[in-house]
């Protein structure tokens, strides 16, 4: 540990860190403003990791730790898939796979007024946006984009929803498109919604397309790009 502290901070970027590792030393980088993301904490001059994962750096000054986990920690402006659990007078209670239930105010819809409150039965799947995620409070969700338009948000009809780790999600949302999605998209037509809370919804005309797409995505987590394409080819051959 001693020699790690003295080493230059750049050496930790893109390497695996575990909780307690001191990844940055502020005393050696004066007159510089840095932004800390998830998994990092500051103790005086030392920035240490609080979770295991890969330390990432994005120019000019952002640091965060990237890891793959099953739980979701709400973050403002994330787009997520939530399940309606209960409806109260002011809020819908939404399960977002996080530590606390999300609150979706009944007025947080495009043109939402007291008169046209939507009715959602328990178990409805919604595509949502996180508006507030304060510590110790239930996260607040919304079915509109920042300008109050419905955009793509709202209930998702039919299809199939499955759960994945946050690591796989990041791959699915990365650009250029993830190889598995690209390979599937060339042969099949389907609709997909990826929530940052580890939920993916897939819809297609026939059930077997949905099953193939869902399984291909779930299997792709530990495969390289080339392996993903081979796997998709293999799966598609089986159904044709």
């Amino acid at each position: 540990m001693e020699n790690k502290q003295s080493s230059s901070p750049a050496s930790f970027v893109d390497s695996t860190v575990v909780p307690g590792d001191v990844v940055l030393d502020l005393s050696s980088m004066t007159n510089q403003t840095i932004k800390l993301g998830g998994g990092l904490r500051q103790d005086c001059d030392a920035i240490s990791a609080t979770k295991a994962g890969t330390l990432r750096f994005s120019k000019p000054n952002k640091y965060w730790i990237e890891s793959s986990q099953k739980r979701y920690v709400p973050c403002v402006e994330d787009t997520i898939l939530g399940i309606v659990v209960d409806s109260k007078a002011d809020n819908f209670l939404i399960d977002i796979k996080g530590p606390a239930m999300g609150f979706l105010p009944v007025l947080a819809f495009e043109g939402g007024t007291r008169r046209n409150i939507p009715k959602f039965e328990v178990g409805t799947l919604l595509y949502l946006r996180v508006v507030k995620a304060n510590f110790g409070m239930n996260p607040e969700l919304s079915c509109t984009d920042a300008s109050g338009k419905a955009a793509e948000f709202g209930p998702l009809k039919d299809g199939y929803m499955f759960e994945t780790s946050t690591g796989l999600l990041r791959k699915l949302l990365s650009s250029p498109a993830c190889p598995v999605l690209e390979a599937l998209g060339k042969k099949l037509s389907f609709e997909i919604a990826v929530g940052l809370n580890g939920r993916v919804w897939v819809n297609a005309a026939s059930p077997d397309t949905i099953v193939v797409v869902a399984n291909a995505i779930m299997n792709s987590e530990c495969l390289s790009g080339a392996q993903q394409i081979i796997m998709v080819d293999h799966l598609l051959k089986n159904i044709q």
Binding site: M161, D208, A214
Partner: protein
């Protein structure tokens, strides 16, 4: 109230409908056919009598231990076989720590019935001194991950653990021949249990009114299906136990079909368990043979240092 809601696992309306509609065209969400079983992998721990079974996403750990106890009064010459289940909240958020839930009790009972009523484990050979000392075999089943069909996975884990378990050898001694001497494993080779046959539990799920039948239901399918039936059969086709739960009524024809399917599946699972056990037994034997050369090897290296 809210905390409880957050803990209970739930399925979306979309998934429920999708599972049902896909099953109508004989498609299951994990790409299986209705009568296809998931892949089973059986692993063993370093200790004798420990096993870990993975059935798709489901993971169960089995652990067998033995203890010398006084037998029950009404059965002075029989050993005791008992099963304990442990449902960890890590496996599924809906499992509550502490008190065993309804599912935990049912699972324990089904496996217990399969093993005991069919007399799969020879309890009479566990007797050392009638009405004084018998071996009490305890099977602990820990659910590590719930991916559906816990009964079948736990049953395989219990069987695999029983087959690899070794109990210390005992003999009678002392002046009156009433004293029990337990020989440590270094002195006398521990003995395996006598297992006559392997009762394999096979579960089926029934879906409402379309008379759809699936084998080995997953977690999601369990949430949708109306009824389930677990049949415990062995490779010879003997029925050891049947458990039918859930509200769905099932005609006799379907039950017969289930039993036929179960028998053929039981044969292949039995083979898989036996193969896995044989591999671990040969390894065990080889470990014993190699003991001497490795110990001398270590000595030499230490001298060099």
């Amino acid at each position: 109230m809210e905390g409880r809601l957050a803990n209970s696992w739930r399925l979306t309306v979309n998934d429920k409908n999708f599972i049902k509609t896909a099953l109508l065209s004989e498609i299951r969400i994990d790409g299986r056919k209705p009568f296809e079983y998931r892949k089973i992998s059986i692993k063993f721990g370093r200790e004798d009598g420990s096993s870990e079974v993975q059935l798709g996403q489901t993971r169960v750990m089995g652990m067998v231990t033995a203890q010398l106890v006084q037998p029950y009064r009404d059965r002075p010459k029989e050993g005791i076989l008992s099963i304990f289940t442990e449902f960890s909240p890590m496996a599924d958020p809906s499992f509550e720590p502490g008190r065993p839930g309804e599912l935990a009790v049912e699972l324990g009972r089904i496996i217990d019935r399969g093993l005991r009523e069919s007399r799969a484990v020879d309890t009479e050979s566990l007797c050392i001194l009638a009405s004084k000392f018998v071996w009490a075999i305890r099977i602990d089943l820990h659910i590590l991950d719930n991916g559906g069909n816990l009964v079948d996975a736990a049953n395989i884990a219990a069987l695999a653990a029983l087959l690899t378990f070794r109990r210390p050898e005992c003999s009678l001694g002392g002046e009156d021949g009433q004293e029990v001497i337990v020989h440590p494993p270094e002195i006398r080779e521990p003995l395996p249990l006598t297992v006559h046959h392997l009762p394999i539990a096979i579960s089926f799920g029934f879906f409402s009114n379309e008379s759809i039948l699936v084998i080995d239901p997953t977690h999601n399918e369990e949430a949708v299906m109306g009824g389930r039936m677990t049949t415990t059969v062995n490779a010879n086709g003997d029925i050891c136990a049947i458990q039918k739960s859930g509200g769905e009524g099932v005609p006799q024809r379907v039950i017969m079909q289930c039993l036929q399917l179960a028998t053929s599946k039981a044969a292949s699972i039995t083979k898989q368990i036996k193969d896995a056990v044989e591999v671990v037994n040969t390894e065990r034997a080889l470990r014993k043979v190699k003991r001497h050369p490795t110990s001398t090897g270590v000595d030499v290296r230490e001298k060099q240092n």
